[in-house]
């Protein structure tokens, strides 16, 4: 009977929270719109990764069939967009006026490098690059590779070692948006639950609802269980929307298996408990958002939601290891992209352990009773 009564209190609070959620356009908007905006924004920026092209301005002062052939060779790499510049133009002024990041000058007499000895003359390709541009290194590598291959050919050499490039996956070719989507799921699970929990706990404590609840038989445990159940449901709502947008807009290839579902469930509970702990130290509703943001915002960037941890400096990667979101992101990627079951289970266990710790601490420090 006690068990039935307890579960009925959980149900009553769960139903009340659902009603209030759907009556609050703001809550619905953020649950739906936040992840969608993130995917569309980042998807639009990065979805071309892998087939990105870089602009290269070429001024051919040689004007010979050989120099034209060299430009065609650069063009045929498929990575460069070649923009030809009139040989009569002052290159320095042109670069300045047009904010150009990569400018290649083919010197006069370039074709004489291809004459047989002893008429052959060395020539130097002049590549001016903007070192602050992220693409300049790539352009330099490509131009250098093209000139090296000419040198090889002129020296009469042949290619002995070549490289074949394949995507990292057993089943399909994955791109940035596939990598990014589990990160969006992880960070949505974190931001929506932490923000909601901190806001709700602080508001109800401040406006006296907790005082009223404390005079009834509902226990803190009933209350917390129902809130966590509701947060799991909200996170799954977001996940469905994230996957739908990912599939429709960017043709993502992700699998939602029992392990990833388990990680999503546990992370919802983990971050709800984290919100509970933060709320304990927040005085009023006005500071609740800032307090939640102060914890979630750095974690969002440090836990590899947007970029792989490998690309971070070692000290940041070390900090990332202390972030619960890191294990959520890693676990979701292991299960949803890489089909790395062992890695996914490992991360699932870490998330489960953290969930238990956070829930015990959260429940222990939360109280309705006043001193």
């Amino acid at each position: 009977m006690t068990g039935r009564l307890m579960s009925s209190k959980v149900m009553i609070n769960l139903i009340a929270q659902i009603k209030m959620f759907f009556r609050s356009p703001g809550s619905v908007f953020w649950t739906v719109a936040f992840p969608v905006l993130l995917i569309l924004l980042f998807g639009a920026i990065f979805s071309g990764t892998g087939s990105t092209k870089y602009s290269l301005y070429v001024q051919d002062l040689d004007g010979s069939p050989i120099s034209e052939e060299f430009v065609d060779a650069l063009n045929s790499t498929g990575v460069l967009i070649i923009n030809k510049v009139d040989p009569g133009i002052d290159s320095d002024q042109y670069i300045k006026d047009n904010s150009i990041a990569s400018f290649l000058t083919i010197p006069q007499g370039f074709s004489s490098s291809f004459l047989p000895e002893p008429e052959r003359q060395n020539s130097t390709l002049l590549l001016r690059i903007d070192n602050s541009s992220s693409s300049s290194g790539t352009v330099a590598t490509i131009v250098n590779a093209a000139s090296q291959s000419i040198n090889l050919e002129l020296a009469g050499g042949s290619i002995v070692v070549s490289t074949a490039i394949l995507g990292i996956s057993n089943t399909a070719q994955y791109n940035f948006i596939d990598f990014f989507l589990p990160g969006v799921i992880g960070l949505t699970a974190m931001t929506s639950t932490v923000n909601w929990m901190v806001g709700l706990q602080t508001r109800y404590r401040q406006n006296g609802i907790f005082k009223k609840l404390a005079t009834t038989p509902i226990t803190q445990m009933d209350w917390l269980v129902s809130l966590i159940l509701w947060q799991i449901a909200t996170v799954f709502m977001s996940v469905v929307i994230i996957l739908a947008v990912g599939i429709l807009a960017f043709d993502v290839h992700l699998t939602l298996d029992p392990i990833s579902i388990g990680i999503i469930v546990l992370s919802s509970a983990l971050f709800s408990a984290m919100g509970l702990i933060i709320a304990r130290f927040v005085k009023d509703e006005e500071t609740a958002g800032a307090a939640a943001g102060a914890i979630t915002f750095p974690m969002m960037f440090l836990a590899g939601s947007f970029f792989p941890l490998e690309s971070m400096p070692p000290y940041l990667a070390a900090i990332a290891k202390a972030m619960p979101l890191t294990y959520v992101n890693n676990g979701l990627r292991d299960s949803m992209i890489y089909a790395n079951t062992a890695g996914a289970i490992n991360n699932l266990l870490i998330v489960a352990m953290l969930t238990v710790v956070f829930m015990v601490v959260g429940a222990a420090i939360s109280t309705w009773k006043q001193e």
Partner: protein
Amino acid sequence: MAESVITVQGLVKRYGDLTAVDHIDFEVYRGEVFSMLGPNGAGKTTTVEIMECLRTKTEGDVTILGMDIERKVRDIKKRIGVLPQDFNAFDLLTVKENIEYFGGMFKHQLPADDLIETVNLGEKRDVYFKNLSGGLKQRVGVAISMVNDPDIIFLDEPTTGLDPVARREVWEVIKDLKSKGKTIILTTHYMEEAEVLSDRVGIIDRGKFITMGSPNDIIDRYGTGTTMIVRGGDDTALQRLQGLSSKVERKGNDIVVRLDSKDVLPEAIMRIHEEGVHYEEVQMRRSTLEDVFLTLTGKRLENGEEVKKGKRVKK
């Protein structure tokens, strides 16, 4: 006297060096309205919140319906109803949904529709709580405090912040509860509220009861008695009234006579109702709890704050 449902003995509550409740003793009897009357910070809310199992006590014994407040918290909660100070319910649930929500927390609950009728909120049944006025919100709070059909109802400053009309509407609801035989503990800093609603009043100041009893008893004991005001009374009237009471004084055009006993009233009327004595009218004024508070503490209360000679008293 009827059966005692609350007993408080030697109750003390300290917050560091501050003693909010200082060795108080009292009992509340079944079916009565017992009011704790006093200024803000007197210890009223701390005392009721200890009885409601919301706060811990420092010392003393408190039993509710014979159950110790520390050992029988769950059992006590089932049998009391509470309207906390600054009550709030869920903004985005309707009146009915809020009542049903809190009702659902109890094994035994009264139908929400019956409670809505009791507090006269039939027309607001499906209105969100956030869209109600302050007075209506308090009535929802009273309905919720009754949802488990409790033996004892605690109403902590139920009319603070309400306008006079809304305050009287809440009074009607409380009178209705009283007529249903509920035991009610009311805290207030409104003298009139305590006088109108209570069977017994305990006046509390600085953590201690300074007097306790029925409003009439307290007024008789500490009040200034009955005052007769003779409007526009002439000097002949003044002369005739002097000697009747120890306190006869002229205040502008009026003569104010403090009657030591109600028995002298006919004599006073007879003395001025004679030829050659001129006056416009006679008014009678009885002491109020406000006069008692002034007599006992030397202070008046304005919206819960103590005022002494026109200045707020700092604590």
